[in-house]
């Protein structure tokens, strides 16, 4: 595979980033059914 300089290992996700990612997880849990609902609802004749 392509020879790339390695990135530093990721630090444990803590603090503000952790809060953001938890918020994002909640957002995604709400968003995905909304998208699915939109698609299937508009399928109705």
């Amino acid at each position: 595979m392509t020879q790339l300089p390695p990135l530093p290992p990721p630090r444990p996700i803590t603090g503000f980033t952790r809060v953001l990612l938890i918020g994002l997880r909640v957002y995604v849990i709400i968003a995905v059914p909304l998208v699915a609902f939109t698609f299937f609802h508009t399928l109705k004749p």
Binding site: M1, T2, Q3, L4, P5, L7, P8, P10, R11, I13, T17, L20, L21, L24, Y27, V28, A31, L34, V35, F37, T38, F39, F40, H41, T42, L43
Partner: protein, 456 residues
């Protein structure tokens, strides 16, 4: 064993450069030669591409329809300076992506996996692949509508354009692919002569740029929807994945940052001028009180414009719509190929051989084939797909932008190219604003379903 000591396999096998590395090295040698000969314009010509393509790619079928609807609904108005603002926002976001690509030499999806884990990487991949597939369907709808204006049967239009997308992708040379798409993207400029044929009032345009007015009808739901649609027409998730991966595939380095920024800025400027040209061209429909609420595609606008900008102007408008769909199909399918291959750790490069990067090429080609087939299917749910595309793109912009901001602020991977505190404040505000606006836009589409109204 005659005293031979064990050596790991990696030390025994000589490193043989991959085809994509050889091709990239050849391109880098040309750039180095141009630099040593002190030919800055030629250096820029060699380095330009990802920025111009991402911006003109985003002037796609649905986006051009949004601009056409904006001009026809509000004329020469508030939206002209507003479009300038949206492309400024797009530049700020994409410039961060360029820096991330140059600093890490990794694609966007790959970096999400490395820094935030495989589950977020898979989410990014699924979000990109599904969103892109549905967007590709809308691009083929735009191509079909544009070619219908010239009486070309849908099957020939869709199959022909899909074949063109596939052929460009299979050149096995990034530079060749890039130049083919850039040549086609020049067709985006066709909206400008179409606008000139509408004999626009230059003083009125200058006045609206200076005053952000007038706003016919005031702030209404139609105004709000078009504000959101225009933002959605400028910043979308595939752009992030495409430009970062293209920057890596092209092999851009720290030394190329200035040219990469100019490339992105130039792309944003050209795309903004074209978008404004489209608004100006269709503003003549507003002046003549033509009701465009039932218009579904570019051909409807071209036909309605014919009495006012002539058959040449209308033909240019329809051709522009075909180009918008075709170029977006090329860039969006490539962004899917990059994103999926990055998460699956497969070889990924437009310089790679077809058999050695099967996942990459199969993803790109399959997405084009499926989208083209859907458009040709009788009774395909094209309206559902068009509405869902908007909802996906706008709802999922928030997660995509958040990852850009987190990556651009990560000093461990960004080094000197890390966002400064000031840049973070500006970019953070923009990301928050775009995310909120995107979510509100998606809700304006979704909520009517709950309340029993029409989705529009």
């Amino acid at each position: 064993m005659n005293g031979a000591t064990f050596r790991p396999e990696s030390e025994l096998v000589p490193w043989i450069p991959l085809r994509e590395e050889l091709m990239r090295a050849r391109d880098r040698a040309r750039i180095a030669r141009a630099r040593s000969e002190r030919r800055p314009m030629w250096v820029f010509a060699l380095l330009a591409g990802p920025g111009i393509l991402v911006m003109l790619g985003e002037n796609d079928g649905p986006s051009m329809l949004s601009y056409a609807a904006t001009g026809a609904s509000f004329g020469v108005s508030f939206f002209i300076p507003f479009i300038v603002l949206t492309f400024l926002l797009a530049y700020i976001v994409q410039e961060m992506v360029v820096r991330i690509g140059i600093a890490t030499r990794r694609g966007h999806a790959e970096l999400i996996v490395e820094r935030f884990g495989l589950s977020w990487g898979r989410f990014a991949m699924a979000d990109l692949a599904i969103g892109n597939l549905l967007t590709l369907v809308t691009e083929f709808i735009a191509i079909r509508a544009g070619t219908a204006y010239f009486g070309i049967p849908p099957a020939i239009a869709v199959l022909g354009s899909a074949a063109l997308v596939a052929l460009a992708m299979c050149t096995r040379r990034y530079v060749t692919w890039e130049r083919i798409v850039m040549a086609l993207a020049a067709g985006n400029l066709l909206f400008i002569p179409a606008a000139l044929l509408a004999h626009p009032d230059g003083a009125a345009i200058a006045r609206t740029l200076a005053t952000w007015g007038p706003l016919p009808g005031g702030i209404s739901m139609a105004f709000f929807t078009l504000v959101l649609a225009n933002i959605g027409a400028t910043v979308t998730p595939w752009m992030l994945f495409f430009q970062q991966s293209a920057v890596v595939d092209k092999g851009l380095t720290h030394a190329d940052l200035t040219q990469a920024r100019v490339d992105t800025g130039l792309g944003a400027a050209i795309a903004a001028v074209v978008a404004i040209g489209t608004v100006i061209a269709t503003a003549t429909l507003f002046t003549h009180h033509i009701d465009v609420r039932t218009f579904a595609n570019g051909a409807d606008f071209a036909t309605a414009l014919k009495p006012f900008i002539g058959s040449t102007g209308a033909a240019l408008f329809a051709l522009g719509m075909i180009e918008a769909g075709l170029v977006a199909a090329m860039t969006i399918s490539t962004s899917s190929a990059y994103g999926v291959s990055e998460v699956l750790r497969a070889r990924r490069s437009l310089n790679a051989g077809l058999s050695s990067a099967r996942t990459f090429y199969a993803t790109g080609l399959l997405s084009v084939a499926v989208a083209g087939a859907v458009v040709l299917l009788p009774h395909a749910p094209l309206l559902s797909i068009s509405i869902t595309v908007n909802v996906i793109a706008t709802l999922l912009m928030a997660p995509a932008l958040l990852f850009v901001l987190l990556l651009a602020s990560d000093g461990e991977i960004m080094g000197k190219l890390k966002n400064s505190a000031r840049a973070n404040a500006v970019a953070g505000t923009i990301v928050a604003a775009i995310a909120i606006v995107g979510a509100v836009y998606a809700l304006t589409i979704v909520v009517p379903f709950f309340t029993g109204g029409s989705a529009g």
